[in-house]
């Protein structure tokens, strides 16, 4: 079988969705959709269609990135454009189907946007503030196609890049990738073309390539969404890379916590095998290649190249010093090239549309686009892809819609636990590899966590250090014990036991860890602490000198009190208190005994808003009392 024979079949399949003869319903069912109830919504759609006696096709698609308003359901009615509806529930979708498909009311009130031009008073989807600044290359099919239907992928131009690559000499493919300016999307930003060239030139056989899908940063979900939404975009890139580097075997290293992505990959791989895209003599080019999946066991450090290779070989997942680099001596001592999921997806796009097209996006040194997962205190959480060079301002306030609840932005954490916090004052910073690194953070794999005035920066640093402390592989001293040391100091500060000399201690040790650690985990681990000290020194000083947490997040540095004038004596807080610290008679003002209070905040949460009697005050709780000053 060959691909050109399939293209017509693919085009027909895709046309049947977009210019249908009967209604098409597409449900966003990546993990994010499933988590917000897309499964029940899908079920409700089937029930409703049956009840209404409507002949329609229902598809599962991936995630288009608007995670904040899922479940998303798209409807394509014959003769009408594809309309995207948001925040669906089983009841709402049932109502929608009946209104639109039977009564011909497109329900603009439930719609997010129209694919294409605005219609029925529904705005154009890609003109919305969330989408307009985006440029979707890696995510080109995410939420658009059914990821389990290979025909959709092919109809959207899939595998044309591979066909082109197979007609080119491997060196020419590498030159094309180099020319595109693509850099590794896993975080380090090494030139992909150069990396491939080193592997191509390395002596040794067989050669291996690895797709790094061990996404582990807290708050990052780019790779998961991409694999769940468009596995073939990644697989095509891997195949292209295999041809370019002369690799015989590919391994997708994916964390076992991504069952849906694994399921879709397995299916996509078997589809490829069925049509001769894997195995011997691929597409008649004389090129042999096969691919398998290895599941990671949930160790963050296995995202590091050498640790990952150890894990694949069945050894303890710890990094080893480089050189030798994987390109010279990787899996089983053979040349190996490791690229991130998003990198592979960019490769297939570059081979389809050309290096010049790709490098027309981005900045001078950071070409193309980058995906980010927006999380934290932001209105529109979700997955986005933007041209390099866009400012943080545009991302957070444009695409992300700003901070909820009228609160003010404090900082943006990028780069995961090895990244840093960029203060609100630096929002005009363009997002590219160099600029973020200069600001003390880094792009990382693309996690972006927005922090507002209620977030304590010391606590934020402490949180990331607790992550790296438990995820350190334990091999090298600076990381294994340095993370613990930093965590101990930061914990003390959040508990009001900080000392003025803690700040120089953190900065000094942090620098040593950066220089002395074996791998990126330990080298980056001090970053959250060091950048928060650099940009939010006053918060540290307040914690240490005045035992005050201005954000009110550090439990030991706050206490709760009941304002007697406001308290109606309803006893709701009394019942909610797990420490029996609240006393008071029914109908009379209650009192909190701070010696018993554990600062859990239940009382504040349950106190009826109309009374607003419980307040959090930055007064030292009992835990902070013994702290000696100075």
């Amino acid at each position: 079988m060959n691909l050109s024979g399939l293209r017509e079949q693919a085009n027909n399949a895709w046309k049947a969705v977009n210019e249908p003869s009967r209604p098409q319903v597409l449900v966003g069912q990546a993990t994010c959709g499933e988590a917000s109830g897309a499964g029940e919504v899908n079920h409700s759609i089937l029930e409703t269609l049956k009840r209404l006696g409507i002949e329609a096709d229902v598809h599962s698609v991936g995630c288009i990135g608007a995670c904040y308003c899922e479940p998303l359901v798209d409807i394509v009615k014959p003769g009408a454009p594809r309309i995207c509806y948001h925040s669906m529930t089983p009841a709402l979708v049932s109502e929608l189907l009946e209104d639109y498909l039977v009564k011909d009311n497109p329900r603009p009130d439930l719609a997010l946007g129209v694919w294409g031009e605005s219609r029925f008073g529904i705005p154009a989807l890609f003109e919305l503030p969330m989408f307009k600044p985006q440029m979707r290359i890696a995510l080109r099919n995410a939420g658009v196609i059914d990821p389990e239907n290979m025909m959709h992928y092919i109809a959207r131009g899939g595998y044309t890049g591979l066909e082109r690559a197979l007609k080119m000499a491997p060196e020419a493919v590498i030159a094309e990738i180099e020319k595109s300016g693509l850099r590794g999307r896993g975080g380090a930003g090494f030139s992909t073309g150069l990396k491939w060239k080193l592997c191509r030139q390395a002596k040794g056989s067989p050669k291996y390539i690895i797709c790094n899908a061990d996404e582990g940063d807290p708050g990052a979900f780019m790779d998961r969404d991409l694999l769940e939404s468009d596995p073939h975009a990644v697989l095509e890139g891997i195949l292209t890379g295999a041809h370019a580097m002369g690799a015989a075997e590919g391994i997708i290293y994916i964390r076992a916590e991504y069952p849906l992505a694994i399921k879709r990959l397995v299916k996509a791989i078997s589809q490829m095998r069925d049509i001769g895209l894997l195995g011997k003599n691929i597409l008649g080019s004389g090129f042999d290649f096969d691919l398998r999946i290895v599941m990671g066991a949930g160790a963050f450090v296995c995202g590091e190249e050498t640790a990952m290779m150890n894990s694949i070989m069945g050894r303890r997942g710890t990094p080893r010093p480089r050189p030798p680099f994987p390109a010279e001596s990787g899996l089983w001592g053979k040349p190996t090239s490791i690229n991130n999921v998003e990198t592979w997806a960019c490769v297939s796009a570059i081979m389809e549309k050309g290096a010049d097209w790709f490098s027309s996006f981005g900045t001078e040194k950071s070409k193309g686009t980058k995906t980010f997962s927006l999380a934290g205190k932001i209105n529109r959480t979700g997955l986005i892809e933007v041209p390099m060079g866009i400012t943080l301002q545009e991302i957070i306030f444009g695409i992300g819609g700003g901070i909820p609840g009228g609160k003010s932005l404090k900082a943006v954490q990028t780069g995961g636990p090895s990244g840093g916090c960029i203060p609100a004052s630096m929002l005009s910073l363009p997002v590219d590899y160099e600029a973020l690194t200069k600001a003390g953070s880094y792009i990382g794999s693309g996690g972006m966590i927005v922090l507002d005035e209620d977030n304590c920066m010391v606590e934020t640093a402490r949180y990331f250090l607790s992550f790296t402390t438990s995820e350190s592989c334990g091999k090298c001293v600076p990381c294994r014990l340095g993370t613990r040391q930093l965590l101990t100091i930061l914990t003390d500060i959040t508990q009001g036991k900080g000392k003025p000399q803690d700040i120089p201690a953190i900065l000094g040790l942090g620098k040593s860890m950066r220089q002395g650690s074996l791998c990126g985990l330990g080298q980056g681990a001090p970053n959250p602490a060091m950048t928060t000290i650099a940009y939010f020194r006053e918060e540290y000083d307040e914690h240490i000198n005045s035992h005050v947490c201005r954000a009110g997040e550090c439990r030991a540095l706050i206490s709760y009190t009941i304002i007697a004038e406001r308290c109606k004596g309803c006893a709701i807080c009394l019942r909610a208190c797990p420490s029996a610290a609240i006393t008071g008679e029914k109908g009379k003002p209650h009192v909190i005994d701070i010696s018993k209070c554990s600062q859990c905040g239940n009382c504040l949460d349950v106190c009826p808003k109309k009374f607003n009697a419980v307040v959090k005050v930055p007064a030292a709780g009992p835990a902070a009392v013994p702290a000696a000053k100075g």
Partner: protein, 345 residues
Amino acid sequence: MAQTVKFTIDGKQVTSTEGTTVLEAALSAGIFIPNLCFHPDLEPYGGCRMCIVEIQGMRGMPTSCTIKVAEGMIVKTFGPEIDKTRRDALQLLLANHPTDCLACVKNQRCELQKVAAYMGVTERTMQRTARPQAVDESNPFFKLDRNYCILCARCTRTCNEITCVNAIDLVSRGDETRVSLFQDQQFMESICRSCGECVARCPVGALVSKNTVIPSSEVLTTCCYCAVGCSMYLGVRDGKIVSVRGNSEGKSNKGKLCVKGRFGIAEFVTHPDRLTSPLVKGENGQVQASWDDALQIVADRFKTYSPDEIAVVASARTTNEDVYAVQKLARAVLGTNNVDNCARL
């Protein structure tokens, strides 16, 4: 033959051979670089970070134990940045290590102590992070006290690379990483063969022999057990054998020993059951006799037999000189070729 490589360490011209690591080359050129996880028998590990250096043209501070020498390489082994980074790593170890060196078996023989002394460390500057850890005393010859462990992994690498027994490995992550046996067994429940190669390579007081007497002198000799002929040092103190260690120059064993050689010698040599007097059989069984009397009896009796009536069994466990003497006795004195040994057993 390996190619010769010329390069510079701290401005000094050094010649070494291709494939040598910077650390090994420096040490053999008399330039000390602190190190803990390095061991000449083991593959480079790069865990302790003590041996970091700066190499022109290389990013950051690579570990000299993992970098191979190259022609024209320019290496710097000290400087304020290197010193600070090393010192912090060392302080982190000290903050996680017991504080009473006097109470440690390895006092004065501890490599951590030596590195600390070399770096001029006189106080601990970091917050203590040590927590109580499990001690395994099940093995009759050695114990594993994880409280002293610095996770240099020499022991686990030894068990993997040298003996290929793989009884011990590192488990868990972060500062909960520990040396462990399969399913957290004790040594005696595990597949450990008790060779003690791990004990021999532990730089600190974590894997230590239960016999803690330090010898006053050592004698180089050859093991008395199997035919591998392991070269070993017997440690002597007060007329007794108190320690055994492999001789790394030994051609047949390159420093390695097994459980019998390492732990099974001292006790039998001076065992109270040792024969201390000749015995001569009389009417009431064997009774003690003087050497002179016993030898005279033997000589007198031997004289009475013709060469065909007497046979001599030499020992395959005694020295060549012992055997030579006895076969000479058989042939030259007793006149017989009836002499054999247990070679076939």
